[in-house]
């Protein structure tokens, strides 16, 4: 999928607004979470969105990833206006364009590390033989050669996050989203993971959009957007 804008801009977020309704039916309260956000992310960048808990970071990421639709505004990813896609098309779009790294790893407990990494390739309908080769290569790259046949509950937090990173990268997606990728890790492991992300960004040219509340984690980013109460307040605003 080639970008209409020349391939430089990977993500374009324009005037995105979203309001949640909370409370009992009939007595709902409106809570504006995203208030007219606009920004762009370029190909190959690491961008960090930093802000306090509850400032709307995750919600922003969910709208970009297509897990939900914002009330207003347009989001273009890799040249595709995501609002125009239906559920099935969104799923296929995510499979081909996105990788996800979650705070609590979100690995399949019933699958081994190897099988977890293999899962997106299975979804893509790639043959077992081809899968095996690429998963092996990816496991080596993230330093999991030894633990392929371990189940998630037999791995440390850092190892689990590596599995999750390997799973996110296995389909060679142009964009990787990370929501508090080191939130569940101790500081030493955090450093390992951040180095790995930097390394993968440099070697593979993957675009990273990273959400964090931690200034130190944000320090590996090329650019940082600061969010407060649903607005971008400081940083390299467009």
């Amino acid at each position: 999928m080639s970008s209409e804008t020349g391939g430089k801009k990977m993500i374009k977020v324009k005037q995105v607004n979203h309001t949640f309704l909370i409370g009992k039916k009939g007595k709902e309260k409106k809570v504006p979470v995203l208030k007219g956000l606009s920004f762009e992310v370029e190909k190959g960048e690491i961008v960090a969105i930093i802000g306090k808990s509850g400032s709307g970071k995750s919600t922003l990421l969910h709208t970009i990833a297509g897990f939900m639709s914002p009330e207003q505004g347009s989001i273009t990813v890799n040249g595709q206006e995501t609002a125009n896609l239906n559920e099935t098309e969104r799923a296929a779009f995510r499979l081909n364009n996105f990788g996800f790294i979650f705070q609590n790893f979100q690995l399949m407990p019933g699958l081994t590390a190897f099988e977890n990494v293999e899962l997106p390739l299975k979804l893509k309908g790639i043959s077992a033989k081809q899968r095996k080769a690429s998963v092996k290569q990816m496991m080596d790259k993230v330093g999991l050669t030894e633990v392929g046949d371990h189940y998630p509950n037999e791995l440390s937090g850092g190892q689990q996050q590596r599995v999750s990173i390997a799973r996110a990268l296995i389909t060679n997606p142009p964009i990787l989203f990370a929501d508090e990728p080191t939130g569940s890790l101790d500081s030493e492991t955090e450093q390992d993971i951040l180095l790995l992300i930097q390394n993968l960004n440099q070697t593979l040219g993957v675009t990273f959009v990273m959400i964090t509340h931690d200034e130190e984690v944000a320090s590996i980013a090329h650019r940082t957007f600061k969010m407060r109460d649903g607005e971008l307040v400081k940083g390299d605003l467009q």
Binding site: H62, A65, F67, M68, E87, T88, A91, A92, F93, R94, L95, N96, F98, G99, F100, F102, N104, Q106, L107, M108, P109, G110, L111, L119, P120, K122, L123, K124, G125, S127, A128, R167, A168
Partner: protein
């Protein structure tokens, strides 16, 4: 996702919840086996009754009666395709007695065309068909009913069935018997006597309770016999004719029956009887299948429960799958495959179990019934209690698997509706 991988995926999930899935399969198996076994009783008894009918009589026989005040048009009947023989037996409304040595019996005299009898494949237990006018064949019980006067008086005074006189116990073949006629109202027989040689004995009727003491004689005798009435100044008795048509083979019974019916005659044949039985059993079997279906429906509640639990349990995993790009269609398919798998395994087990139960029933029940009645004969009888035709297997499988998939459908839909954000927020 490749089909093989989908199957792997489903298998992995089933493995994780072996016991629960096993219990659900058990319920599906029991439901389906119950349906098959129950319906098989209908098929089995129907089969037994059909066999009974086919055994009991000349299966190619078609009886035909004219409507009131009408007569059979033999020419027209002869033109019907596949007719092998038309046997017309004539009887007189009078008393006909046969005498042999000091014995005598009153039988049913029938006059017939021996050529047609031969063509109809009339079966004899002994001897042969008559070759000339002076030869006759007699019913299976003819000799047994040849009693002496003393024996007859004893019977009239009343005896137990076991004490009935045995009649003439040697072979009657080749013996000479003489016929006398006597109108019902008259006190004595005509003086005329006609002598015949018995050359054949007909088969024992298939039904135990039928006593065949008839006599078949060539139809050329009819004018001579009626002439005796005129000679003795009596009125000629009424003469009845019974017409039976024999088709050239069994498969033509149906078409001949239909053709004769279309001509406006009253027709009675095996195919008629079979049709009536089939109609009755069709209703009977539908009833049984209906009851069996209820069992399948009950087992489907189990499948619904199991699948709903499976979806609820895996909410987070489904959310992750959707997040990384599994389409709702795929999610739905994976769950449908799981419920279909339960249905298919349950059905396969049910088929095996049903055949085993059916086999055991057919083997054991006659023994049990025979022992209970204290009759050895019963165990020899080949009664089919349970019969499972492939159509029944097909129907039950389709229902069982179909119901399994329908009950898995709602949970599968529910899985596709799972919200990714909510699912990912779930605690591990």
């Amino acid at each position: 996702m490749l089909f093989k991988d989908q199957v792997d995926f489903v298998r992995q999930h089933i493995k994780k919840n072996k016991l629960r899935v096993f219990m659900t399969i058990l319920a599906a198996t029991m439901g389906c086996a119950f349906l098959i076994v129950l319906a098989s009783i209908g098929f089995g008894i129907q089969d037994t009754m059909r066999k009974e009918i086919l055994q009991d009589q000349a299966i190619t026989q078609v009886e035909v009666f004219p409507s009131e005040n009408e007569e059979l048009n033999l020419k027209e009947i002869k033109a019907v395709p596949f007719i092998g023989a038309i046997v017309q037996r004539t009887s007189m409304d009078t008393m006909t007695s046969f005498h042999f040595e000091d014995r005598m019996m009153s039988g049913d005299l029938r006059l017939t065309d021996m050529k047609e009898e031969e063509q109809s494949n009339l079966k004899l237990s002994e001897g042969r068909l008559p070759k000339n006018e002076s030869e006759i064949i007699v019913g299976y019980h003819f000799a047994k009913n040849l009693w002496t006067d003393a024996e007859r008086i004893k019977v009239e005074e009343g005896v137990e069935e076991a004490d009935l006189p045995k009649g003439y116990e040697k072979s009657i073949i080749g013996k000479e018997v003489s016929l006398s006629l006597q109108p019902y109202e008259s006190d004595g027989a005509f003086p005329e006597r006609w002598d015949f040689t018995v050359v054949g004995v007909m088969e024992n009727p298939a039904k135990d309770w039928i006593v065949d003491s008839s006599i078949l004689m060539d139809e050329s005798w009819l004018p001579k016999l009626t002439a005796a009435y005129e000679a003795n100044g009596e009125q000629v008795p009424e003469i009845y004719t019974n017409t039976k048509i024999y088709t050239s083979s069994l498969e033509h019974v149906k078409s001949v029956t239909k053709d004769l019916k279309d001509m406006g005659y009253n027709v009675f044949s095996v195919s008629e009887q079979l049709e009536q039985i089939d109609v009755f059993f069709m209703a009977f079997k539908i009833g049984l299948i209906f009851v069996g279906t209820i069992a399948i429906l009950i087992s489907s509640i189990g499948i619904f429960n199991t699948m709903t639990m499976a979806v609820t349990e895996r909410t987070r995993e489904i959310g992750v799958m959707k997040a990384i790009g599994a389409s709702p269609k795929l999610i739905e398919r994976l769950f449908l495959m799981e419920s279909a798998w339960i249905g298919i395994i349950g059905t396969l087990l049910a088929i095996v179990i049903s055949y085993a139960v059916s086999f055991l029933a057919n083997w054991l029940l006659p023994l049990v019934v025979g022992a209970a009645l204290g009759e050895d004969e019963f165990s020899d009888l080949s009664i089919t209690f349970s019969l499972i035709p492939w159509q029944l297997v097909l129907l039950a499988s389709a229902m069982s698997i179909g119901v399994a998939m329908i009950s898995g459908w709602r949970p599968a839909r529910k899985a596709t509706k799972i919200d990714v954000i909510q699912a990912l927020r779930q605690e591990l």
